[in-house]
Each structure stands twice: as structure tokens, then as C-alpha cells.
């Protein structure tokens, strides 16, 4: 690190003198903070400090404009009696569980596409397509796919002689219907992660396993999947985050309906704090804190693994 002092600077008029030396060292000590300052400042003001502000607001009753009234834990206690909160929480869990299908389906598609036939690159990018378009568009497309009178789903169902199903208007199906729409881009994302991972699987290990007569499932399970661990890690991370962040599709496809049965925490929070149902910022913040706490469980796990990799 101190090589700077071993040679005179080329362009300097004076050879290295003691004050210059300390200036350079000082510069190197200060430099990272100059580089970091704008980014850290923005991040602290608009990302980190709002987390604490939300926590603080969650102890108040506040309509967003007037005075705040201290409530202590009342907002959190109210959550326990709020049926809508539990419906949202339950839906979040359904989202989380079903979203976990995205990595294996993504892997299956990646395996199908991991070939070198003519035009395969175009196939890969077209399969990836759903991830590139906005969730708003995905939501509109699927809302329309499920439409009870004309939607393709019901055209197919009725052609088999069954009664049409109004997926998005039926409390039993609505959350699953939205999750299917969400899985579509999520699977595409996982697929691309696995395609990249498959590209880097060690060829010699596969050859060696082939010599040992490993084939098909055995090969996949014992040789390929262990080597795909980094891709799997990222696929799981982005899928968990995606499931817990689900907001766009619920908002666009059902606005939480029918009768609030498709709400998730993120949407319920938004509705409580900002929609026509009123401006209950404090209660909304309390819901957000719960969602944040759930997310923190996962984030801590992810970060812990990343730190281990960073050090090891």
C-alpha cells in the first residue's frame, strides 16, 4: 500500500518530500468518503431513515396532515383483531409457498433449452420475454385471460362442457389466479439464472460421471444441481423477495377483491394508508412494519450467507 513513497511522482516538480507523502496517504484515507458521500447521503435520506420513521409513525394515529396522536402499541394490538390483516397474511404465505415453484420450473425450462440447435438463442430470449414487460401489462393480460364470458381459459373450459369459472371474482380461486400470473415472469427470471449456471457447469465432471454410467435424474441430482448452487441461491432470493413484494398484480387484477379476499400485506398497507378507505398512516405503517419484519427474517439469512462467502 505504501509503494507511493518508494518512487518520485513523474509529473511532480519536487521529488517526494515528507509533507507530500503524508498528503498522499491522507488522500487515500479520505478518498473513499468523497466517493461514497453522495450515494450514502441519498440512501440514508430516502431508504434507511424512512424505515425508522415508519417504525415511529406506527405508534401514532395520523391522517397524514394533522397532528399525530400517540397510541403506543394500540395499532399493533388492533392487528390481532383485524380479520383483513390475517387474510392478507395468509395470502402472503400462499404466495411465498407457491412462488417456490418458480426455481424448479425455471430449471426445467432451462434444461429443455440448454441445447445448441439452430435458433436456440432466439428461443431463449423469447422464453425470457415475460420478465421484460411490466407487471401492469402482465396483470391486464391475465385479467383478460380469466374473463368469465370471453377469456381464453373459459373458452377452453366450456368447450369441454364445464361451467365457466370467474377466477378473479371467486374468493376460492382469486389468489391462485393472481399467483399464476406472477409466476409467469418469475419462472422466466429463474430460467435465465439457470441457463447461465448451466453454461458454467464443469464439462470434465459430466464426462467423468458419464464414464461411471450416471445418467438422467441421477446425473441431474448428484452432479448438476450441486454445481448450480449459486444460481439456485439467487433464484430463491429473488423469488422470496418477489413473492413478498407482490403488489402490482393484486392492484391491477382485483384491487384486493372480491371483498378483500385477494389482499396481501403490501396491498392492504397501501389501502389502509392511502386509498379511498381513509388515510390511516399509523395503522398502515404498523402493517408495513410486520411485512418488513417477515422480510428481515429472510434478508438476514441471505446477508449472513453472503458475508460468509465474502470472507471465505
Amino acid at each position: 500500500m505504501n509503494q507511493a513513497s518508494t518512487m518520485p511522482p513523474k509529473s511532480g516538480i519536487n521529488p517526494v518530500t515528507p509533507p507530500k507523502k503524508s498528503m498522499l496517504r491522507n488522500q487515500r484515507k479520505m478518498a473513499p468518503w468523497f466517493f461514497l458521500a453522495p450515494g450514502i447521503l441519498m440512501f440514508l435520506v430516502f431508504v434507511i431513515s424512512p424505515i425508522f420513521q415508519s417504525l415511529w409513525i406506527s405508534f401514532y394515529e395520523w391522517d397524514g396532515l394533522g397532528e399525530k396522536t400517540w397510541l403506543g402499541l394500540a395499532n399493533y394490538l388492533e392487528l390481532f383483531d383485524d380479520e383483513n390483516f390475517f387474510i392478507s397474511l395468509k395470502n402472503n404465505i400462499i404466495w411465498l409457498v407457491l412462488y417456490m415453484l418458480a426455481p424448479p420450473i425455471g430449471l426445467a425450462i432451462a434444461l429443455m433449452l440448454n441445447q445448441t440447435v439452430f435458433g436456440i438463442r432466439l428461443y431463449k430470449s423469447l422464453f425470457f420475454f415475460p420478465f421484460v414487460i411490466s407487471q401492469v401489462v402482465v396483470g391486464l393480460v391475465f385479467a383478460w385471460f380469466y374473463d368469465p364470458s370471453y377469456g381464453l381459459l373459459n373458452v377452453v373450459i366450456t368447450s369441454f362442457g364445464f361451467e365457466p369459472i370467474a377466477v378473479l371474482a371467486d374468493e376460492r380461486f382469486v389468489t391462485y389466479g393472481i399467483i399464476v400470473a406472477g409466476l409467469w415472469p418469475q419462472v422466466a427470471y429463474c430460467m435465465i439464472l439457470y441457463l447461465t449456471g448451466l453454461n458454467n457447469v464443469a464439462a470434465d465432471q459430466i464426462e467423468a460421471a458419464r464414464l461411471d454410467n450416471a445418467k438422467g435424474w441421477k446425473m441431474l441430482w448428484y452432479i448438476i444441481i450441486p454445481q448450480l448452487r449459486p444460481a439456485t441461491f439467487i433464484a430463491v432470493v429473488v423469488t422470496v423477495i418477489g413473492a413478498l413484494r407482490s403488489f402490482d398484480l393484486v392492484s391491477i387484477m382485483t384491487s384486493g377483491g372480491p371483498y378483500g379476499s385477494s389482499r396481501v400485506l403490501s396491498y392492504y398497507m397501501y389501502e389502509t394508508a392511502l386509498s379511498e378507505y381513509g388515510y390511516r398512516m399509523g395503522y398502515g405503517a404498523a402493517i408495513a412494519v410486520v411485512l418488513f419484519a417477515i422480510m428481515m427474517l429472510f434478508i438476514t439469512g441471505f446477508i449472513w450467507k453472503m458475508i460468509r462467502d465474502e470472507r471465505g
Binding site: F127, P130, S134, V137, V141, Y270, A273, M306, D309
Partner: protein, 283 residues
């Protein structure tokens, strides 16, 4: 390579694969294909209930023209560009700086700051919603481009710092060492040596951030109100409410709204995927 290259399998399997692939693709993209078909249908098809069959005629120009003339979508798209482009530029500038600092310098809080950026990236937006909206109101930038831009830059800096830092870590450190030996100032090292090497990372982040911000819906609804600033995602949703049965127009609008990131993706596919799959191969 896994699975076994298809050329090595029997002709019948090879044949099956070549037929199966396009069929699988069509099923996978069926919702999109349907939207594109509907966006060129005449209104008569919609009233007649012809949603999924072949369009009775192709009204490409009429439908797309009426979307632009009869709705505010042109303005929404303009708003999206006005928010997205400055965000991309700002995020890249900030994250080049932070990424460089965290990759090159050893100081005690380095990892702590790094993981602050990483963790911030994962949090649910709702925990930020009330305070950020309030802050924007106080700063007088609620319902302006600036409000959205400022927030997006701050938030995206988290992900982009992670990306830039890992990219710079992969550069040969000797370059920097030898420049230091020559007595080059730290900023000049950054500007003349590191930045030129970061072009692929900058390209990857530019197209990723562009897509993320263009497709953002949550902040578009929270931080804007009127059609003067509303980006196309929020705008499209409000149009959907207005055009209740005019699905040919809704789908034309949807296609238009989806187009810019799609074009970006196809133009810069390699960078896009490199950005998205960061870390999928090592770790």
C-alpha cells in the same frame, strides 16, 4: 454439457424436440400473442365476441392511432421517459462512485456500508411509503418528475452499488497500484483508468435500471397524482378503467407501454442478461 446434446440422440427424439420447441414457445407466450392479435382487431370483433379467433380484419393503424389520439398515453410515455432517463444517468454516476470506493479501499466500515446497500435493496417498498411520500410533499416535489427521479436514484443505488463493486473487484488491481506508484491522484485513477474499463458494467446497469424504472408501478401510484406526471404503468391502469369493453384499445396501449423495455432488451440482450445473472455462476 447437460443434458446430453440433442444431436447425439436418436433421430426420432431429435425430430420430437424440433417440433416440441415451437409448440412450447407458443403456449408459453400465448397471453402475449393474444394481446398482440387483439391490438389489431376491429371493434366489431370485440362486440361480436371474437376475442381469440383470427381477427376479421387487421386494423393496426386505426387502433394504434386512436390510442394515441383519444387517450393521454402519448403523454404518459413521455412522462416515463422523463423519469427513467435521468434516473438511469443519476444512478450510474452515484453507483460508479460508491462501487469504486467499496471495491478499492480497505477501511473498517467497508463491509458494513456494502451490506447496508445490499440489505436496503431487499426491503419492502411499503415500509418506505408513508415517510417518503411525506418527505416529497415537504420538499414540494410530490407529483413532479423530480420527486420520482430522486427516490428512484436513491433506491436503485443499492442494487447498482452491489453490481459495480463486484465488477470493479474483478478488475486487475495492479493497474491501480501502478498508477498510485506514479503518483496519480485518486480521482484521476478513477476517472482515467477505472471508468473506461467499466463500460460493460455501465451498459448492463443502464439497460437494467431502465427496465426496472420503466416498469415501476408502485412508486408511480404513490408519488404522482395527475396525468401530467403519471408514468405509463400507472396511466395504463387508469386507462383500463376508462375503456371498459374496448379491449382492442387496452391491448394496443399495453403493447405500446411494453415496447421501450422490450426494444432495450433486444438491442442489449447480452448486457441485460449479464446484469441480471450477476453472481449466478460463482459464489
Amino acid at each position: 454439457m447437460f443434458p446430453q446434446p440433442i444431436e447425439k440422440s436418436s433421430p426420432s427424439i431429435r425430430y420430437l424436440y424440433q417440433i416440441g420447441l415451437p409448440i412450447a414457445l407458443i403456449i408459453w407466450l400465448l397471453p402475449l400473442i393474444a394481446v398482440m392479435m387483439t391490438s389489431v382487431r376491429p371493434a366489431a370483433d370485440i362486440t361480436a365476441g371474437n376475442y381469440w379467433g383470427w381477427p376479421s380484419s387487421f386494423n393496426f393503424l386505426d387502433n394504434y392511432k386512436s390510442v394515441f389520439i383519444d387517450s393521454a398515453i402519448g403523454g404518459f410515455i413521455w412522462n416515463s421517459f422523463m423519469v427513467t432517463i435521468p434516473t438511469v444517468v443519476g444512478t450510474i454516476i452515484l453507483s460508479c462512485l460508491t462501487g469504486y470506493a467499496l471495491a478499492i479501499y480497505n477501511f473498517r466500515s467497508n463491509l458494513l456500508i456494502f451490506f447496508m446497500f445490499v440489505a436496503g435493496n431487499f426491503i419492502p417498498f411499503q415500509i418506505l411509503m408513508v415517510p417518503v411520500r411525506d418527505l416529497m410533499l415537504q420538499m414540494g416535489v410530490y407529483d413532479t418528475y423530480r420527486g420520482l427521479i430522486i427516490f428512484h436514484i436513491a433506491f436503485q443505488t443499492g442494487f447498482c452499488t452491489l453490481f459495480m463493486r463486484n465488477f470493479i473487484k474483478g478488475l486487475p488491481f495492479e493497474l491501480i497500484e501502478s498508477a498510485r506508484v506514479e503518483g496519480v491522484t485518486e480521482f484521476k485513477i478513477f476517472w482515467h483508468i477505472v471508468i473506461p474499463l467499466m463500460r460493460p458494467a455501465i451498459a448492463a446497469l443502464a439497460v437494467l435500471v431502465f427496465t426496472f424504472i420503466w416498469n415501476d408501478y408502485f412508486w408511480a401510484t404513490v408519488l404522482t397524482q395527475g396525468s401530467d406526471t403519471m408514468p405509463v404503468t400507472a396511466g395504463l391502469n387508469s386507462l383500463n378503467g376508462q375503456w371498459v369493453a374496448a379491449w382492442h384499445l387496452v391491448s394496443a396501449g399495453a403493447v405500446v407501454a411494453a415496447l421501450p423495455p422490450v426494444i432495450m432488451f433486444f438491442l442489449m440482450q447480452k448486457h441485460f442478461i449479464a446484469g441480471l445473472t450477476l453472481g449466478a455462476t460463482k459464489g
